[in-house]
Subunit: 337 residues, 2 copies
Amino acid sequence: MAVGIKDVARVAEVSPATVSRVLSGRSVDPAMQERVLAAVKSTGYRPNLAARRLRSQHTNTIGLIVADIRNPFFTAVSRAIENLATARGMRVILCNTDEDPAKEAGYLELMHEERVTGVIFAPCRQWVEKAERLEPGFPVVLIDRSLPSAGLDSVLLDNESMAAELVAHLHAQGHRRIAGLFGAASSTGIERRVGFEQAARKLGLAATAVEMPHATEAAQRVVTELLSGPVRPDALVASNGVMLLTVLRALRGLGLEAPTDIALAGFDNNDWMEFVGGGLSVIEQPVEEIGRTAMTMLLDRLDHPDAPARKVVLAGRLISRGSSGPRASAAPQPIGA
Amino acid sequence: MAVGIKDVARVAEVSPATVSRVLSGRSVDPAMQERVLAAVKSTGYRPNLAARRLRSQHTNTIGLIVADIRNPFFTAVSRAIENLATARGMRVILCNTDEDPAKEAGYLELMHEERVTGVIFAPCRQWVEKAERLEPGFPVVLIDRSLPSAGLDSVLLDNESMAAELVAHLHAQGHRRIAGLFGAASSTGIERRVGFEQAARKLGLAATAVEMPHATEAAQRVVTELLSGPVRPDALVASNGVMLLTVLRALRGLGLEAPTDIALAGFDNNDWMEFVGGGLSVIEQPVEEIGRTAMTMLLDRLDHPDAPARKVVLAGRLISRGSSGPRASAAPQPIGA
DNA sequence: ATAACGTTAGAAAACGTTTTCTCACACTCA
DNA sequence: TGAGTGTGAGAAAACGTTTTCTAACGTTAT
């Protein structure tokens, strides 16, 4: 039923080896080449990728393991990476862990079994404790989240600086009781929290940072609790776009409105943010560039397996909305190596 | 370097066939089974999926080809499908066509080369004209968009009825000059437009339906033009969530505000929609159920290759927000076979 | 003119599994 | 007791490619 390379060879009256050579673009007699191409067309031959990968021992496949595909940040980065990959003739296996360490481990195992060329990975914090346990066996580039001491290439946002910029922005707008909500499942939340706290201290603000759980209802409870305390904050910073939504929901539950009752700012520039509550001030991440950089680093790593690990830190861009804050900006650019 | 099944066999002092049998859970002597398992662990053996797929001739892989991964509707459906698939031990190859017929054809070709078990597919309209050219060679289930006369299984929203419900909703709120914006790249936009026009006619409204191009700037121009005409509509219906955003952007450009200056409604219940302009009324699609149904139909099709094609039409749910419209609802349920 | 070399294409091996085939063994039943 | 039957494990074939190996040929240089 299925037509294989031998069938093509028979029709073209050449050997299977020659067909293979034509298809992989190596030099063959033009006359033969023509016969082969004609035979391919007439038979409707399609190479069997499994067989090809088995024999050639390279899969031209990269794994992309993200923490939450519903987060527009990750879909944007995924799209960028996929486009770059297919342009180079590589396939992408996209995996979504839902921040679940078990799924994460499972997908890593799958990457092994697929014998992927390399992996781009946004890990949750389970590996921080047992970083040495993560012996990839293939090149890995971390995105969005770092793993201290894992010795892996990574491309990150300059989280601390950006969080500080957000605090400064709110401070400049006159807010003094700023609270921050940060995830603890990834290094990203932690770094942003550190930047937030340092900036607040430097400005002499008594800012409170709170840990956000990943589950939505629990997260909402946390926000509600924070806002129901004795002195309500006059500004809120959320660790990412998804949490910003949770905050909005909690505010609504309390009958509060942003930015009238409380200022709101955060990370990730989702496309709806300009339309909500007079516009939300956020740190926009250079998603396209994050994808491009990760891909480049992965390919570099394939060429130079033993080069020292690199860490690329990209700047974000403050998008000031709502009140009359300063219209600050900075083109995304590497600031470290 | 790499450890194969033969190495495991040698360590366990059994034949490779036995190792294979243990790993695929067939009955073997318990003592041997134990030796094999121990050997697998001690050697760190990982099966080579390419080899396995080549020999066994089934890939346990389904392709999922969507039109726009940035559209939350598709990410939600993808997530549902992926969860179901992995629960059944199947892999998913996720492809994003960006509504580009060339990409679409390329990915379909890839599906062939991967020898996928089946494909779940949201096609753009290129196939309508040349439906017979789409000879899959594997089971295909269409989602979100239908291909008349292609004889394929499909699961769709009841687009016409839902569009009509939206019109009725706006009419009940007192709006009389309703305009609709519909994409022409897929059957979905067309069906919604038909439902919109029929409902308007039935209500005696002089509703105008306009075609939205896919490119964002062009789309925005269309909306701006529509709103700058001699008599401005007092309500706008958008064909999906992405277009709703385009509309919001165009409104802003004209200095108009929803729902004060104009009412806004559409399809897809994205998570931010309750927070924008007092809340947008939308038709919520049963994304989870769409994914589940598509998966079920695909598996059914594998069991019964020659059964007649089925078309499942699911109801959406009107989520009434903003003004004081009726709080209508209907649980998603099949209404057709 | 002949040896040495480079190029080209076919023959055959190899990739790492699963599956078929074969055989040995134990058990049942007449 | 002996033939028939069922079970379980190893040997070997098979999956569809790519790659190595080998041989033939044409070209150049001596």
